[in-house]
């Protein structure tokens, strides 16, 4: 699921926001409905936890922070200058961790509903979502 979202946002952002990473765009798009659902503090807690988990796998995320409003800060700075592939992978891990937390807390069904509302054009397979995220 994370990879599909990143691919979708990479394609969409190529023209409109070429400087923004796909991971940043995915986070931003999830921020609005999740803040509405869980509050800014709720979303911020989730994203901070996801970031902490992702850092263990991708040390390149060590400079990334979660802002007071729940936005990601510093993700784009990792960018192409240093190691484009590492940055991309770190972003993917972060999104996968965030979705993984949602799955853990609210299950596949509710997570899919939330995500599908943001990306209605992306097709997700209910059965494989959990596996995909951890893959």
């Amino acid at each position: 699921m994370a990879r599909r979202l990143l691919a979708c946002e990479a394609a969409a952002g190529r023209n409109s926001e070429p400087t923004r990473s796909a991971a940043f765009r995915v986070c931003e798009k999830l921020r609005q409905p999740l803040c509405s659902l869980a509050g800014v503090a709720g979303f911020r807690s989730l994203l901070s936890r996801a970031l902490a988990l992702a850092r263990a796998e991708a040390p390149s995320l060590s400079a990334v922070q979660v802002g007071a409003d729940g936005s990601l800060q510093g993700l784009d700075a990792l960018g192409p200058q240093k190691d484009k592939d590492m940055s991309k992978e770190g972003g993917a891990i972060l999104i996968a961790q965030l979705l993984g937390l949602l799955l853990l807390f609210i299950g596949v069904g509710v997570t899919l509903r939330l995500v599908q509302d943001v990306w209605p054009e992306v097709a997700f397979d209910d059965r494989d979502s959990g596996k995909e995220i951890n893959a």
Partner: protein, 507 residues
């Protein structure tokens, strides 16, 4: 004003089995309600049930969460209930977190945010959970008048936008007085939870409901995987037409006893069979139900002390087949022995079974077992509950035979340890007597509300054919009901053993 000029208040379903009946038909549309209770009493679950029962994409439900249970956790837990329909999420049911606004801004900002969302979504149902948090915040920074004004404006806004509103809050009973929230509210649903010894009791009360008559008093409810289930004190029979009293007599399954009863049990009566352990109460009850099946009258047997298979097996040893009628849906044997049972839940089970098979006869075997199956607190209400149960069932034409175990006394002749004889129309007393070095059994019809009955004291036996009454009265003894009779020495007669009874009938 004529009836047709009056505004019709539509009633929304609560989604909670039993609660609509308690509310007098459902929730008044566009009403402004409070769901109050202590933590863990089921407030949020009730609110969710109402939301999922009513929300549609056209008239969605807005669920505002404020500093109570975190929304993510609430979703995590609430989706475990069967009423939680994931397909409705984000479309028909929308969760909106207002914590930040409540924390950082004032009541006007809270109202503004609610208004913005309400005007955007045009919801049919709005929930604010927990509203108590809003009130606390309000009282910390402003005066009570401002709070009252806020509640007034909120109620106006939501009613104008045709929303039925629920403010969920943790309150204690003493707070009802002088609280502006309760003054403005149209409806107040209070949920209670208390513990008694090892039992947990849940009760709800409609403290206030404008515009319609709800069922007064405290009603028990349970929370299961399906959410709340409420049990009305009137058992859903409040408006039900009572059956016109019948003059028909039902055979009890023992012809001699039918004769003693003046032709059988009047249909719709409540009969109490009282006696010590082993006197044959259950046998007689089984004969009563089996006779009903023979006559084409479906029956229910409620057992507390043995399992249905054992009960049917024991009936089989008396030549009474209870297996076939069960398969043919003419008989149900209900085994009700969960912990913390409330009488109202038991009643619901029985009533559902009565409706399911169109039962005409009901056996409760036994009242002692029934009482023991109840949570300790309900035992104190046993008599009252039993009264409601019997009245409700006989009211719909069911003939009830209850058994009650009596500790055998040789100094008195009580009819029931529960002092419930006033609840029964007819009483049959079974007891042991000591005669000629034998422990034998006698029965007597103590009371028949519906007419004359035999005053004879008759000896009986429990045989392979069930309870069998011997020929004639026991005329040679005095003080039979004491259990230690004295043989009469009539002039010219010699003292002789009482002899064996001669079975004359089959059960």
């Amino acid at each position: 004003m004529s009836t047709q000029d009056r505004v019709t208040i539509n009633k929304l379903p609560t989604g909670v089995p039993g609660l609509d009946e308690i509310l007098g038909g459902g929730l008044p549309e566009f009403s402004f309600n409070i769901i109050a209770g202590a933590p863990g009493s089921g407030k949020t679950t009730l609110a969710h049930q109402i939301v999922f029962a009513n929300a549609t994409p056209e008239r969605p439900a807005l669920y505002f969460t404020i500093l109570g249970e975190p929304a993510i956790k609430m979703l995590r837990y609430q989706q475990q209930y069967t009423f939680f329909d994931q397909a409705k999420l984000n479309h028909a049911v929308r969760f909106i977190n207002l914590s930040q606004i409540v924390l950082e801004k004032d009541l006007n900002a809270v109202l503004e945010e609610i208004a913005k969302e309400v005007e955007k979504a045009s919801p049919g149902v709005v929930v604010v959970d927990s509203f108590r948090t809003v009130v606390r915040k309000a009282l910390s920074g402003s005066n009570e008048l401002e709070l009252q004004s806020f509640i007034q404006r909120l109620a106006l806004l939501l009613t104008s936008w045709q929303a039925t509103t629920f403010l969920v809050g943790e309150y204690v009973e003493g707070e009802i007085r002088d609280n502006p929230v309760f003054t403005v509210a149209d409806g107040l649903l209070w949920l209670y939870q208390s513990s008694d010894r090892n039992s947990i009791l849940r009760k709800l009360q409609i403290v206030k409901l404008r515009g319609q008559a709800s069922v007064p008093g405290l009603h028990t409810f349970r929370i299961t995987h399906a959410g709340l289930q409420a049990f009305s004190r009137t058992l859903g029979l409040a408006g039900q037409q009572r059956k016109i009293p019948s003059t028909r007599r039902l055979s009890i399954g023992v012809p001699e006893l039918d004769t003693m009863l003046g032709g059988g049990i009047p249909e719709g009566d409540s009969v109490l069979v009282a006696g010590a352990s082993g006197t044959g109460k259950s046998v007689l009850a089984t004969q009563f139900i089996a006779e009903g099946i023979r006559q084409g009258e479906p029956g229910i047997v409620v057992v507390f002390e043995e399992r249905p298979q054992e009960y049917a097996g024991r009936a089989g040893s008396f030549g009474l087949d209870l297996e076939t009628p069960q398969r043919e849906k003419k008989l149900e044997i209900l085994y009700l022995r969960p912990l913390d049972l409330s009488v109202d839940e038991t009643m619901r089970e029985i009533l559902d079974a009565v409706v399911r098979i169109g039962a005409k006869r009901l056996v409760i075997d036994s009242l002692a077992g029934f009482e023991m199956a109840l949570a300790p607190s309900f035992r104190m209400e046993f008599r009252e509950s039993l009264y409601r149960m019997i009245t409700a069932l006989t009211g719909i034409g069911v003939t009830i035979l209850s058994t009650v175990e009596m500790a055998e006394s040789f100094t008195e002749f009580p009819f029931s340890t529960y002092s419930i004889s006033f609840l029964t129309d007819d009483i049959i007393r079974l007891r042991y007597v000591s005669i000629d070095g034998q422990l034998r059994k006698i029965l007597v019809v103590i009371k028949m509300r519906g007419g004359k009955h035999s005053n004879d004291i008759r000896e009986y036996e429990i045989t392979s054919a069930g309870l069998v009454i011997s020929d004639g009265r026991l005329t040679d003894y005095q003080g039979l009901i004491t259990g230690i009779p004295v043989r009469l020495h009539r002039s010219g007669e010699k003292e002789k053993p009482a002899g064996e009874p001669k079975p004359t009938s089959k059960g």
